[in-house]
């Protein structure tokens, strides 16, 4: 047989990384980012001021963290509408815990519990979502609608609908702390993204997750534990949402269950899509999602700083999603 095979031996490790970056640039995300930055430098007053940078970093952090989780869920071919509600739930729980008499008496333990318990609750919500989707075969959009509706309600019930304000410098460090002058949550985002990226690129779970999203039937017939993998994605997403909820509360030193994470599901989905995630599943560009979050945040900021009404900002966001999906579809050999 005439041999046309060139067993190309590309060194194994860096390929995943290269792949990811080529994907980002291909989707024009970087171009969009540069355009927004240039626009702001020229138009928006004080845009280059360090304060602006810090504000944006601290606000983009929550979107980015949730977007990373959302990317995993979308990569399995699902979607998670409950992220905002789970943020509210965990954000409502934390102050309840560290302002309780028990925590007042044991400050360190109280602080630890006020971080661990809300995240555990969030993870439990993720198990619930994942179980509905994978064990009972409920459509993801419907399954996560349950917490989308009830999660915030539970949070409001827990807090009697009151705004909880507090002073707890240790807890607030999550939202206001600085390392080398940069907001703490900025580092957190990078660490989380790096970890999740590593999991996706190098572990069995990551590979299986992409296979489930790429062709669920084929994955199952190859022995991939499809149900477990899907539950895993929802659990990670919910856990990250829980963490994001804590950060929001820490930034404000106040918890308003009605507002934490409001419309976050849309921001996170938008960030994931802008970052190059395919809605039909099978792809999880983690750093793409971060880039997407940055773009979404900057668009919000640009419009706000230039006095454009919130409603218009929503329309602009919708426009970005449409554009991103269009760019994804338009490629043809």
């Amino acid at each position: 047989m005439t041999m046309q095979n060139k067993p190309v031996t590309s060194a194994s490790e860096p390929t995943a990384f290269k792949f990811e970056w080529s994907m980002i640039s291909r989707h024009g995300g970087v171009v969009a980012l540069i355009a927004i930055l240039l626009f702001n430098i020229l138009i928006t007053p004080n845009f280059l001021h360090p304060q602006t940078l810090f504000v944006n970093i601290s606000q983009v952090a929550t979107i980015a963290i949730v977007a990373v989780g959302m990317t995993l869920v979308i990569a399995t071919g699902g979607i998670d509408l409950s992220v905002g509600a789970i943020m509210a739930l965990s954000g409502a729980l934390a102050p309840l815990i560290f302002t309780s008499p028990f925590a007042e008496a044991n400050p360190e333990l109280g602080l630890a519990l006020s971080i661990v318990v809300p995240i555990l609750v969030a993870l439990a919500c993720g198990v619930f979502n994942g179980a509905l989707v994978s064990l009972l075969n409920v459509q993801p959009i419907v399954a996560t609608l349950i917490f989308f509706i009830s999660g915030r309600g539970i949070a409001l019930v827990l807090t009697n609908g009151n705004l909880q304000t507090f002073t707890n410098p240790a807890f607030s460090y999550l939202g206001t702390g600085k390392i080398l002058g940069f907001p703490f949550q900025g580092y957190l985002v990078l660490i989380i993204a790096a970890c999740v990226w590593w999991v996706m690129a190098f572990t069995v779970f990551g590979r299986q997750l992409l296979a489930v999203g790429g062709n669920e039937r084929a994955a199952e017939l190859s022995g991939v534990p499809v149900k477990r993998v899907k539950i895993g994605a929802y659990v990670i997403c919910a856990g990250l949402s829980g963490l994001a909820g804590l950060i929001v509360v820490a930034i404000n030193s106040a918890s308003d269950a009605a507002r934490i994470g409001n419309l976050m599901e849309l921001d996170a989905i938008a960030a994931a899509v802008v970052g190059g995630t395919l809605l039909q599943g099978g792809r999880a560009p983690i750093f793409g999602a971060i880039l997407g979050a940055v773009i979404i945040q900057l668009v919000k900021y640009t419009l706000l700083a230039n006095g454009v009404a919130d409603e218009v900002a929503l329309i602009a966001k919708a426009g970005i999603i449409v554009l991103a999906v269009y760019v994804q579809q338009a490629r043809k050999e």
């Binding site: 005439t2 190309v8 194994s12 069995v204 790429g214």
Partner: protein, 508 residues
């Protein structure tokens, strides 16, 4: 006479990798024209350029003497070119009618879809092919073969001047192929040209007028089929001496029938709700057991039951390798059973993933090393299989969807061989694989069998079954009715066994 289709000097590269260089194709009105060539020769790509799926880099395309303006599949259809692709592209969750009428639904005066007419028209189209099915049922509830015929029916119904069939017969049994050939002859009589791609050379002699031969992205010849020999075609296609090919022989599965070893599993009177009534079969180390029967006789269903895809309603499978029951594919795999599916696109490949990732999908748990995939071992293994199976790819990182159909099949076979299973269930293992590679794949399977692998073989090619299997279990309507033993099986005796019991069944 004016050419219906005239393609010349066609070039096409994908991200720098050349798929076509200087390919050409000439089709006369009303002729049945074949394209043959090895896996990856560029047959499907050439067609996709004609039908507007891909854009050509260079070259000329003329339809009826005029430069073609086709740039989307829809435009190709409107220009009278109907296509049935190698990979089925229908919607399994929709009704048969919806699939046949898709995009061309009859409307009522209010502009809504006129379902009554749609169903009636669909029924009429299908009856022309001798298919009598409930057109309101989901397409996915029918076998791959029926789905294939539905795709063909749809294409033919669109008043085409040219009907393209890219490996349309690979999942059909003899009877269905006859139906299809009937339709092809009918089309020809009506003046419709047919472009026919197939790896079954025998078929070409039955219905084709002329054949275009492709090799490595080039058109290397065009012949009047009556003036060729099978061996001549093969040698031109492979670019090798006819003598050399003749010496090698054509089926690689046959071998010394050695004494089979210890039993691997025994299935007794198993039934499932997918139409399996009562099937018994045993498999021992180092033997190939074939499943014979017509389409719908329960061959694939038996495979599904053995692999834990369908739960048993009664009967039992005693597994001597691990013992215990198998309820899911994952359990089957850890019990040392592999299953190469017949439905490559839906149940086999993960299209976005690379050749490497597809090949090691089932093996992943075994490649785990300190929480991560052992990339070094993975790469070595994939490289080894790419070489030993002769997989044509630009590299192991190429997405599998970009490989030609036959090469995808080889990757999937490697997925299972890499697991080093005790039992391998092969459902149409050489479907869509070219003659050269088919021989290689069969030899490789034989090699593993000689080392103790047990194989359950399903094949709609009687030749493969008769020469390859040590025993053949004949199935009918979900029952295993008899068993034939090699040496001694001939195609005639197999057909007789299937037919004989069929007649008997009809009487009783």
């Amino acid at each position: 006479m004016q050419h219906l289709i005239e393609m010349s000097g066609i070039k096409k590269s994908f991200a720098g990798v050349v798929a076509l260089q200087n390919a050409s194709l000439h089709i006369e009105p009303g002729e049945v024209h074949a394209i043959i060539g090895q896996n990856g020769a560029g047959k499907s790509t050439l067609i996709k350029i004609l039908t507007g799926v891909y854009r050509r880099d260079a070259g000329e395309v003329k339809i009826n003497g005029n430069p073609s303006t086709v740039s989307t599949p829809r435009e190709a259809q409107d220009a009278g070119i109907a296509t049935i692709y190698q990979e089925l592209s229908l919607v399994p969750l929709r009704s048969v009618t919806e699939n046949v009428m898709m995009g061309y639904e009859p409307r009522t005066r209010l502009g809504t879809i006129d379902w009554k007419t749609a169903h009636a028209r669909t029924r009429e189209i299908l009856e022309r092919f001798g298919i009598h099915i409930d057109v309101r049922a989901q397409l996915g509830s029918y076998s791959t073969a029926i789905q294939q015929l539905v795709a063909i029916a749809r294409a033919v119904s669109l008043n085409a001047q040219l009907v393209i069939m890219d490996e349309a017969t690979s999942s059909l049994d003899d009877q269905e192929i006859e139906i299809l050939f009937g339709v092809v002859r009918e089309l020809k009589k009506e003046g419709v040209a047919v472009l026919y791609i197939s790896h079954f050379l025998d078929e070409l002699y039955q219905i084709c007028d002329r054949v275009t031969i492709m090799r490595d992205g080039q058109t290397v010849g065009q012949r009047v089929i009556a003036e060729t020999t099978k061996l001549g075609l093969i040698s031109e296609m492979l670019g090798r001496d006819p003598e050399e090919i003749e010496a090698a022989g054509m089926t690689g599965l046959g071998g010394e029938t050695t004494e089979p070893g210890r039993p691997l599993f025994e299935a007794k009177d198993i039934s499932t709700k997918r139409g399996l009534k009562s099937v018994s079969l045993t498999l021992r180390e180092g033997e190939i057991v074939g499943l014979g029967g017509l389409l719908g006789s329960g061959r694939t269903e038996t495979a599904r039951a053995l692999f834990g895809m369908d739960t048993l309603r009664s009967g039992g499978i005693q597994n001597h390798v691990v013992g215990g029951n198998i309820r899911t594919p994952a359990e089957a795999i850890s019990a040392g059973i592999g299953f190469l599916t017949e439905d490559r696109k839906r149940e086999g490949i993960v299209p976005h993933m690379s050749v490497r990732e597809n090949m090691t999908l089932a093996l992943l748990p075994k490649l785990k090393k300190m929480g991560r995939v052992d990339r070094k071992r993975e790469t070595e293994l994939v490289e080894r299989f790419i070489t030993s199976l002769g997989i044509k790819t630009s590299g192991m990182e190429q997405p599998i969807r970009e490989l030609s159909g036959g090469n995808q099949q080889k990757v999937l076979l490697a997925r299972w061989l890499a697991l080093e299973p005790d039992v391998l269930i092969l459902d149409e293992p050489t479907r869509g694989v070219d003659v050269g590679a088919k021989f290689e794949i069969q030899s490789i399977i034989r090699e593993y069998v000689d080392k103790g692998l047990g194989v359950v073989l399903i094949s709609s090619e009687f030749e493969e079954l008769v020469e390859g299997a040590d025993r053949i279990i004949v199935l009918r309507d979900g029952y295993s009715i008899t068993e034939l033993e090699n040496p001694g099986i001939t195609e005639e005796s197999l057909i007789a066994a299937i037919a004989h019991h069929h007649d008997e069944g009809a009487r009783g």
